[in-house]
Structure formats: C-alpha cells, structure tokens
C-alpha cells in the first residue's frame, strides 16, 4: 500500500505514464520560473532595503530587450506545454478501433454499468488488463462525470448526449472511481471501484455470472422482432428499409448527398429521430421510437445492430455504399 502521504496516485492505465510525464515537465518549467522570480524578489528585497529615510531608488524605466525576452521565452515554453498536452488529449479523445465496450448510465446517485455480455453491475466495474476499454456513457438526469484517478481519465456524462472515453488498464488491482461533476445531494458517495483483472480471471468472472439471458445482443434481437423493426429492415436489403447487416462502423450515403459514419450516436439518432438522416434511395417512413424505448433497450438494440457486423453483407441495395450499408 502507499504511504500516509502519497504524492501521486497509482499508475494503472496507458494514459497514466503520459499524464505523469507531462505533469513533471510542467512542474519543472514552473519551478524554474517560480524559483527565479522568488529568488530575485527576495534578494532585491534584502539587498536594496532602505538605508536612509530620504533615500530614493535609481530611476530605471524599462528595457525593451528584457521585455521581449520575457514575452518570447515563456511563450515558447507555453506552446510546448500546449503541444504536448494536445497530443495526450487527442489520443484520449480518439478511440482505437478494437475496444471492449461497456455501457455506463449515470443517475442521481449511482452508476449502472453493463458488460458486453449483458452482465450488469452497480458502482462496480470489472475490466481485463491489457484490453482497450471504451465506456459509452449516458445520463438519466443531471450532468455526472466518470473519473478514475489511477487511470488519469475522466469524462462528463451529459444528459441528451452520448459521451465516450477509453483507456487500457495496465495493472491488475482495485481502484477508486468517482463522480467528478457536482450532481446534487449525494454527489460525494456516487462512486465505486474498478477491478482490473487478468484476462483469464476476467473471463472466469464473466462466465461465472448468469449474464446470458441479459445479453444485450440477445435482448436486442428480441426487441428487433417485438418492435417490428424486422418487418422493414430485411437482412437481404429488399425491404422498405435498408439492411442493417454490416452497417455499424461503415459509411452511409444519405438522401441529401452527404455521408455519415454509422456509430452508436448515429444508430441511436436513427431510432429516436428516424427522419433526421434519410438513407439514399429510401423514403422517410420510419416512425419514431421516442418514448417507447428505455435507455437500456436502445443500448440493447444498438448492441444487436452492431453484432450484425460479422454476418455476410448481402447484395447492396440502392443508396448503400460499397463496404458499408444503409439503415432503416
């Protein structure tokens, strides 16, 4: 365990060493300036202490070279900080291709998390070490924020938006996670533990759970039939709506000539506001499912549509670009 007075949290993700290195760099630069200025002030303060009551200082009005130097040098160092920080941030905001997706729902004052196989957890998260983990996050009420200090990651969970973040745990163990965005009365207790496990332990843990019936793909498939999606979205692309096979992750051509990447947000929007983006060659006939699906059902449907990825792509219908598919 750590000492009584640790100076930094454990490093347990791919981001942690980067963030800590950045921290050390900026501390070094700042320490240099802080020490230099403080030393100057203290030395002058003692050295030039007034000796006679009517003494006057030497009038010096300024120096262009000095002014230029202390504008340019800090500017260069500041831009270095900006650049390095930007590299780390862009890496954080751009999720890699291969991820293990975990759905996170924040509500006052608990976290509901769901493993890819449908296993649900509350205020607990189990992830395998060495895998890229992506959290897909939504809020049911106010703004929350999922924060794992040991991973050096944090992202707001905003109602009405989907925010995602990713990390790769590098060290097995149990780590605190917190809600970092003030969300009302029990904000301080809206947290829990992330358990990072060896992949084999994780697999055992997953199978040890009875998650099968709650598998979102299975649930999504059931919903797909129940909600009559299946009556239009034929898998061979001959229905009134585009086939959804392989749609996830590809480019979709729209009626207005633009294209859009079919990711979670697009699928979600297509379910809730179907006519916002019409696939080329299809009519805006799909009704909205707003108010008819819970957040979890949407996630299940999304998971199911994503699972269609691996099935063979059928003959492309109108409006479906090569190596991609349409929707609705």
């Amino acid at each position: 365990m750590q000492s009584q007075l640790p100076l930094y949290p454990e490093q347990a993700s791919n981001f942690a060493p980067h963030v800590d290195a950045l921290m050390i760099f900026i501390i070094a630069v700042c320490l240099f300036f802080a020490v230099a200025v403080t030393a100057a002030v203290v030395i002058f303060f003692f050295k030039y202490q007034r000796k006679h009551p009517d003494e006057v200082g030497v009038p010096i009005h300024g120096d262009m070279r000095l002014e230029t130097a202390w504008m340019v040098v800090p500017l260069v160092l500041a831009l270095a900080m900006f650049g390095w920080g930007a590299v780390v941030y862009v890496d954080f905001r751009n999720t890699p291709q291969e991820t293990l997706d975990i759905y996170v729902i924040g509500k006052q004052w608990m976290w509901k998390l769901q493993q890819p196989n449908g296993m649900r957890e509350i205020n607990e998260l189990h992830v395998p070490v060495g895998r890229n983990i992506r959290l897909i996050m939504a809020s049911e009420d106010v703004i929350h924020d999922f924060f794992v200090p040991a991973f050096r990651v944090k992202m707001d969970v905003v109602p009405g938006h989907y925010n995602t973040m990713w990390f790769r745990p590098t060290k097995a163990g149990r780590y605190h996670f917190f809600c970092a965005q003030y969300c009302g009365t029990n904000h301080a207790v809206m947290g829990g533990w992330v358990t990072v496990m060896e992949p084999s332990d994780y697999a055992a843990w997953l199978s040890g759970s009875s998650g099968a019936d709650a598998n979102p793909v299975v649930a999504g498939e059931k919903l797909f039939a129940e909600k009559a999606c299946i009556t239009c979205h034929f898998s061979n692309g001959t229905g009134r709506a585009p086939s959804l096979n392989g749609v996830y992750g590809g480019q979709v051509g729209l009626a207005d000539g633009s294209t859009v990447t079919a990711d979670e947000s697009y699928i979600r929007e297509s379910i809730l506001v179907p006519n916002a983006k019409i696939v080329r060659g299809y009519q805006p006939v799909m009704p909205t499912f707003q108010g008819q699906l819970t957040e979890e059902q949407i996630m299940a449907l999304t998971a199911y549509i994503k699972s269609l990825q691996s099935q063979p792509v059928p003959a492309t219908g109108a409006g479906v670009l090569p190596a991609a598919a349409g929707k609705k």
Binding site: E140, P159, G160, H161, Q290, G291, T294, E295, Q297
Partner: protein, 108 residues
Amino acid sequence: MSEHIVSPKIYLAIFGTLMLGTFLTVVAAYRDLGQWNIVVALAIATFKATLVVLYFMHARYSPKRTQLVVICAVFWLAIMLALTLSDYTTRQHEGRIITPSAAHSLSV
C-alpha cells in the same frame, strides 16, 4: 467639440433606404435561396443597422471613442457567437439526441 447637425434630408433618405431594406428582406424570404436565405436576411439587417448607427445615432460624426465603443460591442458579440459555434460546428454529432426518459416527461 462642436456638434454636427445632420439635415432632415439625410434623415429622410435614410428612412427611405430602411423601408426599402425591409421590403427587400421580405421579398428575399419568399425566395428559396437554400443556405443563403439567412445570410441575405442578416446582411440586409446589418446594413440597416449600420445606417441607423451612423446617421440616426450620429456615430459617423461622433468622437473616436464612441466609434471604439461601437466596434467593441460588435466585436465582443462576434467573439461569443464565433467561438461558441466553433464548438458546435466541429462536433462529430451535431444536434441533440433526446433521451427516452425525457420524451416520457414530455408526454405527461
């Protein structure tokens, strides 16, 4: 500083131009110019506003500091609009997505 007296003729000319501008705005609104509808509407409005500021409000004949205030006000408004939109227009997913729970509360 001696004050500048704007003659009523100029006032009437400005008034006429403003009327014309109003008329053009309405006419333009009934044409389908696609994305340009809003641009044309705002351009005409800005032209009209500029006339009002310069002549009705005498900004053209005012001291430099007054003109500075006008420029600052417009500039700061532009900062707010432009930088906020720099976020909204560069998001991967524009527009908002309503949560179902939210939709429920709507139907109450």
